[in-house]
């Protein structure tokens, strides 16, 4: 009995330490965003760095004064939103095709898609850059959206999920007179919320933080996303940590909102597809 209580105690202790480890950087950023720059630096080495001792909004004010934050925010929301939405449509259809439809060359094509998984963007960035330059797409939203819609990892997640679905639902729909697309949108999609939520969150997280590609293909703030704006706070003087923290807080908020909205399906999706974060 006592041994069991001790075990529970130890387990909770471990969880508390983990929770602190995870929340500490966020607290550091949040409390720093409300402090003057000098205080951020002097407190950086002590526990006070994690405590928001005052509610000074000057750093936030600075952010808006130094860059057109709203513009960047809207750019980021639009680009990420389009990549997520179009990605859900394209990748789910592709995953469904690989998992369920019989067609010649399916296995070969799927092997190719899996092979793309190990190819990082950096490896194809330069040829891709030449390509979009040739098309005259630089400095557009399109160039930041189009290359990221089709995603091998998302296709793979959809594929594994659809593979595990019972066949009877589709067969019933086909007998009831629905074609392949109708079956997909009316029957499959409404019963696949977990995988859609998982892919939406993962795509959102990746896309929200992209840096290299927009840096290569855009110039000027009209179409650039948030990560490029926060970078200017490091590269252009003055280097104000309080401003950077305030920017960081505002940049992280949308991620939290998206995650809160999707999390109940996300957890089920992670369990169902067997992936781990």
């Amino acid at each position: 009995m006592q041994a069991r209580m001790l075990a529970t105690l130890l387990r909770y202790l471990g969880l508390v330490i983990l929770a602190i480890l995870f929340i500490a950087p966020i607290m550091f950023m949040l409390s720093g965003s409300f402090k003057p720059d000098a205080q951020v630096l002097t407190e950086a080495g002590s526990w006070q760095a994690f405590i928001p001792s005052q509610l000074n909004l000057e750093n936030y004010h600075d952010v808006f004064a130094r860059v057109d934050f709203l513009r960047y925010l809207l750019n980021s929301i639009f680009i990420t939103g389009m990549v997520v939405l179009l990605g859900l449509v394209v990748n789910s259809l592709a995953g469904y095709g690989f998992a369920r439809l019989p067609w010649r060359g399916r296995k070969l094509m799927f092997a190719l898609v899996l092979a793309i998984l190990i190819l990082p963007l950096e490896a194809i960035a330069v040829p891709l850059f030449y390509e979009v330059t040739l098309f005259g797409w630089r400095n557009t939203y399109l160039v930041q959206i189009l290359p990221f819609i089709a995603n091998a990892f998302s296709i793979f997640l959809f594929y594994t999920f659809f593979l595990g679905m019972p066949h009877e639902l589709e067969e019933a729909a086909r007998i009831d007179g629905a074609g392949i697309l109708r079956t997909f949108f009316s029957i499959i999609v409404p019963n696949s919320k977990p995988v859609f939520a998982t892919v939406a969150i993962l795509t959102f997280l990746t896309q929200w933080g992209v840096y290299i590609w927009p840096l290569m293909v855009t110039s000027g703030e009209t179409v650039r996303p948030l990560p490029l704006a926060i970078a200017t706070f490091y590269t252009l003087p003055p280097l104000q940590w309080g401003d950077i923290f305030a920017f960081g807080v505002m940049m992280v908020l949308p991620i939290l909102l998206v995650f809160l909205f999707f999390q109940r399906w996300f957890i089920r999706g992670v369990v169902a597809s067997g992936i781990k974060g």
Binding site: P166, L169, A172, A173, R174, I175, D176, A178, G179, N191
Partner: protein, 368 residues
């Protein structure tokens, strides 16, 4: 209203499994035909081929003399009830019933009319706004049937529709299916592994084994005149006792060997002496139904066998019997008689030679 014909259908799966071999079957207009057999006999494959869910390897399938072999499921105008019902989990009962009608692009008023008609017929009116997860097994089963009948299909397919229900519910829904089919007079193909379902529901019953049709007949004839040893052993619970045997010509007439003893063929059972004479000296099989093997007074016993085991069914008992030296059961007798004989003891038995069935060495029945 439609007739269905399977013409020399063969189906071989990609892994080489031959699910159907030269399968011929005609389903009459308005008939309820049951496909029955052990698992893996090809009965569900036949149904799925007719539905268009699998493609035919060889032969063709006709509905009303129209070749539908290469048509998609949606072109065939058939409806199907699945073993696990396959209701759309995210739709209410009403939307489930409506789905096939939407696919047919019927008007809203027509859809509403048909849904209320089906709901009333199947007592689903109060459940229309619920989703499948809120329904009991029997209710889900009814919704699945409703979804099949709303569209007024040419052919109605049922793939073991009762196997997920408990025994009591199964009996009730069985009656409802029979009544519904009588009322709507839709040509129905019904697949089951349960011979009681097959015998009670089927206007005709097709017994299948290893991808081949063994016998197609009305239920009574399947029991009374099985075409071969498989059907004899499959129909009836338990099935017919089938033993390897021989015939000999004795001075008293034709005799048959059962458990090492010779008996006068007498009235020749189901075959006549003329047809049996041809098999004298050959290996044959002899069959006797468990209900025809009766306990006897020791004085009039024709056969005495060791009682290996007894199964109590409540209203009657199953006696598992074997020869004295045998450890395994060779024969089963079924009777209301309560045995006072202990396991391992000798049980006196009798039978009427009229009840004997004869099969040739290939297992085909010999009838006169």
């Amino acid at each position: 209203m439609a007739s269905v014909a399977f013409n020399s259908i063969s189906k071989t799966f990609a892994n080489g499994t031959r699910a159907l071999i030269d399968f011929d079957l005609q389903v009459h207009d308005g008939e309820l035909l049951v496909l029955v057999g052990p698992s893996g006999c090809g009965k569900s494959t036949a149904l799925r081929l007719l539905a268009g869910l699998e493609s035919v390897t060889d032969g063709n399938i006709c509905i009303n003399d129209t070749d539908v072999t290469d048509m998609t499921p949606q072109q065939r105008n058939i409806a199907m009830v699945f073993q696990n019902y396959a209701l759309y989990p995210h739709m209410s009962v009403r939307r489930n019933l409506e789905f096939p009608l939407r696919m047919q692009k019927l008007s809203v008023t027509e859809r509403q009319k048909r849904v209320s008609w089906a709901a009333e017929l199947l007592q689903l009116t109060d459940l229309l706004e619920r989703v499948p997860a809120q329904l009991s097994g029997g209710q889900r089963q009814r919704v699945a049937m409703g979804r099949a009948i709303v569209r007024e299909p040419q052919v109605f397919l049922m793939d073991e529709p009762l196997s997920n229900l408990d025994a009591k519910m199964r009996q009730q829904i069985r009656g409802e299916i029979a009544a519904l089919q009588r009322r709507l007079i839709i040509t129905t193909l019904y697949v089951t592994h349960d011979q009681i379902e097959a015998m009670t529901l089927g206007h005709r019953v097709a017994v299948m084994y290893q991808g081949r049709l063994q016998q197609l007949d009305v239920p009574q004839q399947l029991y009374a005149r099985p075409a071969n040893t498989f059907v004899a052993g499959f129909i009836g619970s338990p099935g017919m006792n089938v033993l390897p045997s021989r015939l000999r010509q004795a001075s008293t007439g034709l005799q048959v060997e059962i458990c090492g003893k010779w008996f006068d063929v007498g009235k020749h059972g189901q075959a006549n002496a003329q047809s049996l004479l041809a098999y004298v000296g050959q290996d044959i099989f002899v069959g006797l139904r468990p209900e025809a093997l009766l306990p006897a007074d020791p004085a009039e016993a024709m056969l005495e066998l060791k009682l290996v085991d007894v199964e109590e069914l409540g209203h009657e008992q199953l006696f598992y019997l074997g020869e004295q030296q045998a450890s395994q059961t060779q024969l089963i007798a079924r009777h209301t008689y309560t045995s006072k004989i202990n396991k391992g003891g000798a049980m006196p038995l009798r039978f009427d030679s009229v009840a004997l069935y004869y099969f040739n060495s290939a297992g085909m029945a010999i009838y006169s």
